[in-house]
Symmetry: C2
Subunit: 338 residues, 2 copies
């Protein structure tokens, strides 16, 4: 198999570290690897497959002779994305910077792999909550069509990066010891609390996170007629996002049919054995690449209704795994730029 | 004001203790107070308004000469409810034993106070999640009618009593110290986890807790045409249940109208000032009697849609406060049995 040159931008953060772990696990065919980050992290070193790599500060020249750039997130792709493309390097961008750009494919490999083919240099990795939901919805969409989705999320602190994780730990300890601990990363205390506010407020008083779940899902499914309304909530869980998803399909499917369809679907594991108290829980889905679906029930308040409980590791399938899968599609479809 | 004889059954548990606190706070006109519990707790003593009361084991004779019996929960009302009624004592029962009995009113004082009047000795206090939701829904129901509700809950561990609270603390400490801690009260670990399973599984794979939210809401509103579908989830929060509530009304109301209506509604506090990051959070609604509503948004995926985020202390408004309010109605409407 052809080996390619890969640069990871933002290599020292939570998603960057996970990208390296997954490139290794999936044995991605790397020729040269380069690790980049902001000047703050440049100079540190990171191990990968037995070798130590010194992290470089990202510059336009970081992309010279590289085939694929995996951007972990943040503003880096705004600053360096075009420079990478100009040098013949395909950008897979985990930030939200280009997701809604009509010139940029937004790809979940289990859902719309073919969209990789029309890229013009940049491919966007969707929002974590969106990826997790759409992997579970697509098999149902294909069989029964989807009219409307009402989703409420239960999102882990690692969605806010390493600082989110550290804040949950420090704050929880402080509460248990009866000490004060002011929020830094989150706007309010997260230990033993819920915060119904993720990302900034936008149109109609929905948050950006809520609109992402609406608009990105429609773009990935190529179907603006799928109506979605979302409420996104931060919960004191370290890792894996959970979602309570109510689906109105175009055509009736029973809970039994939905289970069967989901059990056969790529990237999905059905955990739905209530007799044995089996259903997905975020503590047990972390470090896994699949999306877990359980509590599959018919919703008899409408003609064609289903309720699902969907859980997935938002750093893996919700970010890093999905990005590496897109890189694999670039090789499979032979659509690199160099 | 007439003073009455009150017996609290299950006085030593979380709800029982809260009942005493609220009887005191609201200055309920008590003549004689009697505290009862199972034989396990009998003999212990509890302070109330400066006096110490020895807890007695509940027997049929516990209700002789008593006017109102507040049952905190569990099976006690099955065992002793009829005995109380036969002795002329009105039972206000926080358990689910009689809630769906057509001979028993199910009352939320802000919603259906008049139902107290037709009691035949027993009045049921609804499920905590139901009370919190229906207090927020009723003002909307009155103005715009309600067709359908899709609700996902985020329920605190204190819904499972003192043992639930202790388990969250002990387990969280253990996790932070890297120690093992097997679940006892809950079926699975609750520290830094979510459990999408509250109470036993019933019809159509919904839990009893989910069906309670459906059937009790319909009974309280006297309207079986209101369609409700629920997903109930335990979260690592000590106190106050939160609910993401999607409402389809019969007639259009805007978010602004909904805010105005809710702001004027009894027992409701609107916390919805997103410019200042104000919305209800369970850490800050505990020990309060009101139901807090925020994130009030129009849902434009349907003609008449609203999304609400509703939070309330499930031991107070969700249990003890509601029960004491029912007792107050018994005096107001003069419908005791002795």
């Amino acid at each position: 198999m052809k080996k390619v040159n890969v640069v990871v931008v933002g290599a020292t953060g939570a998603v960057g570290q996970e990208l390296l772990k997954i490139l290794n696990e999936r044995n991605f065919p790397i020729n040269n690897l380069k690790l980049c980050a902001t000047s703050r992290s440049a100079g540190t070193s990171v191990e990968f497959q037995g070798c130590r790599y010194v992290v470089e500060e990202t510059t336009p020249e970081s992309f010279t002779d590289m085939d694929i750039a995996l951007f972990a997130g943040g503003k880096a792709s705004l600053e360096f994305g075009q420079a990478a493309v100009e040098r013949g390097c395909v950008v897979i961008d985990n930030s939200s910077n280009y997701r809604m750009d009509p010139e940029v494919p937004l790809v979940v490999p289990e859902v719309n792999p073919e969209d990789v083919k029309w890229h013009k240099g940049i491919i966007a990795n969707p929002n974590c909550s969106t990826i997790i939901m759409v992997v579970a919805l697509k098999p149902i969409y294909d069989v029964a069509g989807i009219k409307r989705v009402v989703v409420s999320t239960y999102q882990a602190v690692s969605g806010a990066g390493k600082e989110g994780i550290e804040e949950l730990t420090a704050q929880t300890k402080a509460v248990l010891e009866g000490l004060e601990h002011s929020p830094k990363k989150f706007l309010h205390p997260i230990a033993f609390n819920l915060i119904p506010h993720i990302d900034v407020f936008q149109d109609m008083d929905y948050t950006k996170e809520e609109w992402k779940m609406v608009k990105e899902t429609q773009k990935i499914l190529h179907d603006d007629k799928v109506r979605i309304t979302a409420t996104t909530v931060r919960v004191p869980v370290y890792r894996s996002h959970s979602e309570s998803v109510n689906v109105e399909t175009e055509r009736k499917i029973t809970a039994a049919q939905a289970k069967e369809i989901l059990a056969k679907a790529p990237g999905v594991i059905v955990q739905d054995d209530i007799g044995n108290n089996v259903y997905p829980m975020p503590l047990f889905t972390s470090d896994k690449d699949e999306v877990f679906v359980g509590r599959i029930r018919e919703d008899n308040t409408i003609d064609n209704g289903l309720n699902l409980w969907v859980v997935g590791d938002q750093i893996r399938k919700g970010a890093a795994t999905n990005a590496v899968q897109i890189a694999e599609l670039l090789l499979k479809y032979n659509c690199l730029m160099r």
